[in-house]
Structures are given as structure tokens and as C-alpha cells.
């Protein structure tokens, strides 16, 4: 990559960051004001599109929030000419310095975008667009979806919010746990989408992991006493801390056991672990995100793969399985089990799982078979894994193993 491309990328990143910091806030305030989710969102999207065209040429304004606000307001007065009600409200709206603060309405915005009456993929697209200020094109590129499909998904979701009377409100206390779970699922999905996708294919598209972390940090700031929000934030940060070691310079995936641990961001690990510990002290009975973060923390603190505290990890997986039984979690647990009880026990455990179409199932079996000296069977299992995987980085890894 040459210097010019680098500069271009960093300007783009900077643009994306600025838009993300302000677009959701503006959308939140406008929905409150107009009482019309769809109309407010359209205004903000318009302003964002104009900003993305003009800022690269004119430079990012000193006060991007005021800039976006002015454009959205002008567009609003223009577009909504016929709707006297909105026009009057918009005309009243002012943007001033050092004035009493409009509440940060982004929490309401998040809960509306992640309402359980919306389909999961609509929740994901809507959250990216409305809360993070992504354009439809950016969302499509990041999710490897067609732009027209994403646009339609968003239009339908917005129509449903209006027509079905989905409220713009923070859920009541008795509804909050269930609704928060829904929000965290959406963010976790974004994180996985970004984290597991290959680097090569999406090198120039939006880093969804960054958006997932930003969203979780925002949520943590707005709901500081929710332990699972803190848990998800720690989980994402612990994974991100290992990013520099996850790929070779050529873009090949490096497994956790083979990573150069000196490349890990120790400051980020220490901070995330501290957040997790603080949360655990204040709340008993950790939820699934805290447990997953605790497992990630065990890996992050281990000097080598072999010296990992596998017994502790096994206990954490058992707790996780009690909360959320899942064959995939059992599969991950089996790796810890193989270190504590040996590969024979672990193999017997995974052979009970109905995961025949899951590539990692066969790759894990292959590892245990190799540990047991059953190389021919291991080879067959690796081949099966390679047949099933669609991820180019994982495929490279399996091919290399098969060639050995």
C-alpha cells in the first residue's frame, strides 16, 4: 500500500468517525422533535450524503455537528414545505453554543432500531444507518449485500415503525432486560460479521468491528450499570487487542495458538480485564457476554497457548452452557477439555455433537485425531472442513495443513 492510498483511507476513516459521532445524535433529537422517525431519518441521511460529498473537498468543518444540523434543517424546511406542522417545529429549532443540553436521545434511537417487532436483518441495517450514520452503500459493502436489498430492508423497517406504532422510547424497567438482550444480540452480530470476515475481501469496506465497539461503548456510557453491556464491551476490546497478531502481513489468518503474543495490545487487555473485574465485583451471576469475555481474558493473560489456564476456561464454559446450551459452545469447550482430560475424552465429547455441516467441527476433530496419532482420519476430517468453509482465510489455513 503506498502513502497516497494510506492518506485516502485515513481521511475516509476520519470522515466516518466524525459522521458517526454526530449523525445519531442529530437523528435522535430530530425524531423527538418531529415525532416521525422516518422523516427525521431521511433528513439526517440527506445531510450525511452531502457531507460525504463535500467534506473530502472542502475539509471537515470545525463544528461538524452544527454543519450537519444546518444542512438537515435547511433540507427539512425545503422538503417538508407542505407539512406545516414539521415546518413550524423545524423553524423553532436552533443550534447554539453553551446552551442547556438536549438530552442524548440515542438510547431511545437504539431501542427503536432494535425493536423485537423488526426482523433481525432489518434491526442490523437500521442500527448501522440511523445510530452509526452509515449510508446504504456503506452498509451493503460491509454486509456483502446488494445495495438495493439493503435499501429495501431499511425502507420497509421504517414504514413498519410508523405504521405498526413501534414507540420511540426507552423500555420500562420490567421490559428492559429482554429488550437490552435484543440490542446486544444485534451488536454482537455486527461484531461477528466484522471479526470473522476475511481481510482481503473487505479491505476497503467499513470495519464493522469498530462500529460494534463504538456502539457498545455508547451503550455502556448511557447504561453504565448494566453488567452485560460492560461484558460485551470487554469481550470486543479483548478480541480487538489481538488484531495485530491475527493475520500475517500477506493477509493469512493466524490461529490463536500460533499468534505472536508480543503483538497483542497489553494496555487494551489490561483495561478490558479491569472493566470485567469491576463489573464482576458489583454483580453476581455473570451473564453470557461476561463469561465469554472472561474466557477471552484467560487467553489474553496466558504467556503461551500451552500455559493457558484451561481448567478455569473449562469452568467458564460450563457456566456458559448452563445459561445458553449450544453445540457450538460445546465444541469450543472441547478444546479446553482436551488439555485438561486429554484428546481421547475431548474427541468422544465432540463426536456426540450434531454439527456435521460446521467446518470448525471437522477441523477440531482433526486436531484431536492428530493428537492421538490417527493421522489418516485427521486428514479426512480436515478435507471435510475445507469442503465446508467459505471463508478464504480459513480455507488457506486448512489447505496448508492438508499439504503437510
Amino acid at each position: 500500500m503506498n502513502a497516497d492510498v494510506n492518506a485516502e483511507v485515513s481521511t475516509e476513516d476520519e470522515l466516518a468517525r466524525v459522521v458517526r459521532d454526530h449523525a445519531g445524535r442529530l437523528a435522535g433529537a430530530l425524531v423527538s422533535l418531529l415525532g416521525d422517525f422516518s422523516a427525521a431519518e431521511d433528513l439526517v441521511q440527506d445531510a450525511v450524503e452531502i457531507a460525504l460529498r463535500r467534506w473530502p473537498v472542502e475539509g471537515i468543518p470545525d463544528r461538524p455537528d452544527a454543519w450537519l444540523f444546518t444542512v438537515a434543517k435547511r433540507r427539512g424546511l425545503d422538503v417538508l414545505r407542505r407539512q406545516q406542522n414539521y415546518r413550524a417545529k423545524l423553524a423553532e429549532l436552533q443550534h447554539q453554543d453553551e446552551q442547556p443540553v438536549a438530552p442524548d436521545d440515542r438510547l431511545r434511537l437504539i431501542f427503536t432500531c432494535c425493536h423485537p417487532a423488526l426482523a433481525r436483518e432489518a434491526q442490523v441495517a437500521l442500527t448501522l444507518r440511523v445510530v452509526c450514520g452509515l449510508t446504504t452503500a456503506q452498509i451493503a459493502a460491509a454486509l456483502l449485500a446488494k445495495e438495493s436489498a439493503v435499501a429495501q430492508r431499511i425502507t420497509r423497517a421504517k414504514r413498519k415503525i410508523t405504521d405498526a406504532g413501534i414507540p420511540y422510547r426507552i423500555p420500562r424497567d420490567d421490559e428492559l432486560p429482554e429488550r437490552l438482550t435484543e440490542v446486544l444480540t444485534v451488536i454482537y452480530l455486527l461484531f461477528n460479521e466484522g471479526y470473522l470476515s476475511s481481510t482481503a475481501e473487505r479491505a476497503h469496506s467499513r470495519d464493522l468491528v469498530d462500529d460494534a465497539e463504538w456502539l457498545t461503548a455508547l451503550l455502556h456510557g448511557l447504561l453504565p450499570n448494566e453488567p452485560e453491556v460492560a461484558g460485551l464491551l470487554a469481550l470486543i476490546r479483548l478480541h480487538r487487542a489481538r488484531t495485530p497478531a491475527r493475520f500475517t502481513p500477506a493477509g493469512e489468518l493466524v490461529l490463536l495458538e500460533d499468534q505472536d503474543r508480543t503483538l497483542w495490545d497489553q494496555t487494551a487487555i489490561a483495561e478490558a480485564t479491569a472493566l470485567l473485574t469491576r463489573t464482576a465485583h458489583r454483580h453476581h451471576a455473570p451473564g453470557p457476554y461476561q463469561l465469554q469475555a472472561a474466557i477471552a481474558a484467560c487467553h489474553s493473560e496466558a504467556p503461551t497457548w500451552a500455559e493457558t489456564d484451561w481448567r478455569q476456561i473449562l469452568v467458564l464454559y460450563d457456566m456458559l452452557l448452563t445459561l445458553q446450551p449450544s453445540p457450538v459452545t460445546c465444541l469450543h469447550r472441547s478444546v479446553a477439555l482436551s488439555f485438561v482430560e486429554g484428546p481421547a475424552v475431548a474427541l468422544a465429547e465432540v463426536d456426540r455433537l450434531a454439527l456435521d455441516t460446521y467446518p470448525l467441527f471437522h477441523a477440531t476433530r482433526a486436531q484431536f485425531l492428530r493428537d492421538l496419532g490417527r493421522d489418516t482420519e485427521a486428514h479426512v476430517a480436515d478435507e471435510r472442513a475445507a469442503d465446508l468453509t467459505a471463508n478464504p482465510a480459513q480455507l488457506d489455513l486448512l489447505r496448508e495443513r492438508l499439504a503437510r
Binding site: 445524535r25 442529530l26 433529537a29 423527538s32 422533535l33 415525532g35 463544528r63 455537528d65 452544527a66 444540523f69 417545529k89 423553532e92 429549532l93 436552533q94 443550534h95 447554539q96 453554543d97 446552551q99 442547556p100 443540553v101 438536549a102 425493536h115 417487532a117 405504521d163 405498526a164 406504532g165 413501534i166 414507540p167 420511540y168 422510547r169 423500555p171 421490559e175
Partner: protein, 131 residues
């Protein structure tokens, strides 16, 4: 730090939304109902009456319980000639068995109501179109 100042009073309250709740029966539910003693069935009805009573301020039209799907007749008008057939418009294991109209603040209020519904296992919530 610049902030957006909203000087208007936010008036999001007051608006109401009408929904029709469509109650849907499944084969298993009907079997359960059949297996009940008369006393148990009476209690089941009582729970339904109680639900209607608990939510009477939000129910704008109690609607009706419908006769079984085997009594349905469907007419199709889209083929040029009116076609009359026996049975519901979709043959399935789940059939609409009744409806009620409610008048509430938003979907969340409707959801809260429906989550306490004591009878058939599926309820569809549809906003009424404003004409």
C-alpha cells in the same frame, strides 16, 4: 461542545393506535381443550373473561370468537368468475379463531397486553389502517 437546543415542548403523548388482535388456534391447543373436564374448561373461559375485564379500558371492540375453521367458506374473485370453496383461505394447522380491537398508545402497550393472554397459543397484532 455545541449542542442542539430544543425549545419546544415535546408532545408525543396523546396519539393512540388501533390494533386488531387475531387469536390463532393450533391443533395441539384444540386437543388440549378437548381433553379438559367441564370444570377445567369453565376455568379456562373464566380466565379469558378476566383478561377482557382487566383490559376493558383498552378494548375498543370486543370482537368475536369465530366458529371452527371447518365451517369456513372461501370465495375467490380474482379468476374472472367467483369461485366458492369449502374451508379457510389457507389450509393450515393454525387458524384464526377470533378477533378483538384494541386502542392503545403504541405497539409496546399492545405487546404487554398480549403477553398476558390466557388462551390460544398464537396472537397476531395488526395495526388498523387509517382511512
Amino acid at each position: 461542545m455545541t449542542r442542539i437546543v430544543i425549545r419546544l415542548k415535546l408532545s408525543t403523548g396523546g396519539k393512540r393506535v388501533k390494533y386488531v388482535l387475531m387469536f390463532i388456534e393450533t391443533e395441539e391447543y384444540l386437543k388440549e381443550l378437548d381433553a379438559m373436564t367441564p370444570g377445567e374448561r369453565e376455568q379456562a373461559y373464566q380466565r379469558v373473561y378476566q383478561w377482557f375485564d382487566d383490559h376493558r379500558d383498552k378494548i375498543s371492540d370486543r370482537g368475536n370468537k369465530l366458529q371452527g375453521a371447518e365451517t369456513a367458506t372461501t370465495v375467490r374473485l380474482d379468476g374472472g368468475v367467483a369461485m366458492t370453496t369449502d374451508g379457510p383461505f389457507i389450509e393450515g394447522k393454525e387458524v384464526v379463531s377470533g378477533f378483538t380491537e384494541i386502542d392503545v398508545a403504541d405497539l409496546d402497550e399492545a405487546l404487554r397486553m398480549v403477553k398476558t393472554w390466557p388462551a390460544c397459543p398464537v396472537v397476531e397484532i395488526r395495526p388498523v389502517a387509517e382511512m
